[in-house]
């Protein structure tokens, strides 16, 4: 199956070309955030305060790495379960977030918000953290360092292998793939 190449920040004209099931190699900057960082980001939005990074067009990766050993860019870095972020996601999409990387199903509220804001949700392969770490070329903690692995890391990735799960037209690969026969 051919792979599409995509670079961040994401623009709507490119997002609209993506279809559930497409395999994508993503390059550019992505930001890590999981449960604790999401709670803080949304708190900042609700208070009308600035986020620690400009979220317009950006991609959030639901991940908390293992510590880097000396000489490593980053430790193991696979996706965590996205559903835990569902409660926060619509507000981040409304603020300009365009892409999310994780694993696992999103709820209908998130799927509707993805359509409304022309965004996209990708799956990375859960449990492939060693392989995925090799596609990260730089890593820097830019917010909430006290959260440890849950801090927001600014990553530069090259050819990060993803599958489009929820596209901007409301398709959902997880539910569609159950009904296919192999």
């Amino acid at each position: 199956m051919p792979e599409l190449r995509l670079t961040t920040p994401l623009v709507e004209s490119e997002i609209e070309k993506l279809n559930a099931g497409d395999r994508v190699l993503l390059s550019g900057v992505v930001y890590t955030a999981r449960d604790a960082a999401h709670a803080r980001l949304v708190e900042l939005l609700r208070d009308g305060r600035p986020l620690p990074f400009d979220i317009a067009g950006q991609v959030i990766y639901y991940a908390g790495p293992t510590p880097a050993k000396p000489g490593q860019v980053i430790g193991s870095l696979g996706p965590t379960t996205s559903g835990r972020m569902d409660a926060y996601t619509p507000e981040l999409l409304a603020a300009g977030l365009k892409g999310m990387i994780g694993k696992g199903e999103r709820n209908q509220t998130v799927i509707d918000a993805i359509v409304r804001h022309k965004a996209v949700y990708f799956a990375a392969t859960g449990g492939a953290g060693a392989l995925l770490s090799k596609r990260v070329i730089s890593c820097e903690v830019i917010a909430f360092p006290e959260l440890g692995c849950e801090a927001v890391h600014r990553l530069e990735v090259r050819d990060f292998p993803l599958v489009v799960v929820n596209d901007s037209r409301g398709r959902d690969l997880y539910s569609e793939s159950r009904t296919l026969s192999f």
Binding site: A63, T66, T80, T125, G127, L131, S133, C149
Partner: protein, 280 residues
Amino acid sequence: MREIDAAIITERVRAACIEACTVLPRGVLEALKRARRIEESPTGRDILDQLIANAEIARFEHIPICQDTGLTLVFVELGQDAHITGGGLYDAINEGVRRGYDEGYLRKSIVRHPLDRANTGDNTPAVIHTEIVPGDGLRIIVAPKGGGSENMSAARMLKPSDGIEGVTRFVVDTVREAGSNPCPPLIVGVGLGGTIEKAAILSKKAILREVGKPSANPTDAKLEDDLLEAVNATGVGPAGLGGRVTALAVHVESYPCHIASLPVAVTLQCHAARHSSFGI
């Protein structure tokens, strides 16, 4: 009475934590390769290729297989004629976990209370299950258990009249509802019988068995075959993106139970089925 020095236990647990998190057991890797041969979904095959490559990168470059290096689950078999000297057994194990997760650059994923959520900073405490056995030896299995798959595990007290159909339905529903979240292809551990906590512990023991090795009990072995077929008919597939291989194996462990009860527990183990064991 044989004496076992607590400091040796600490050192062996330290090493086992690091090994378990970076070296996928050979049986699991072989099972992934078999899955790759039978998977028909192109995306599923691609996922399995990534998982096989991932295990090799992890092993050769000493990178954790998965960033979730887990809650450290420890199974202890302590001989009744052994005596631990120089400190407590559980303190020795937790010190080994502390050192392993620090020195191995493993992620610290434990919070001190389920509601205040403050990280303990060293991945302790471990969850330790101890059995007293004949003899004077000590055997320990260290099994880091990821949160994503543990969150999708389940237990249910069925009625005896629910029988094999009820058990099958519960196991298959648990796997189907878990979908992509627990990182399939899974090893499904089924604990049958006992009480609610006994069934849960049996389901944990079930995931530690060598992948695909049938139960010695013919009833359970038959159930394992039938459950594997049923689970793989769900179409969840590798990474939940559709396909034939939703589970690499189903392992059943059973125990006698009350005339009124049919306890069933299902532990879902992700494909990073990590464990390392040693004897002293």
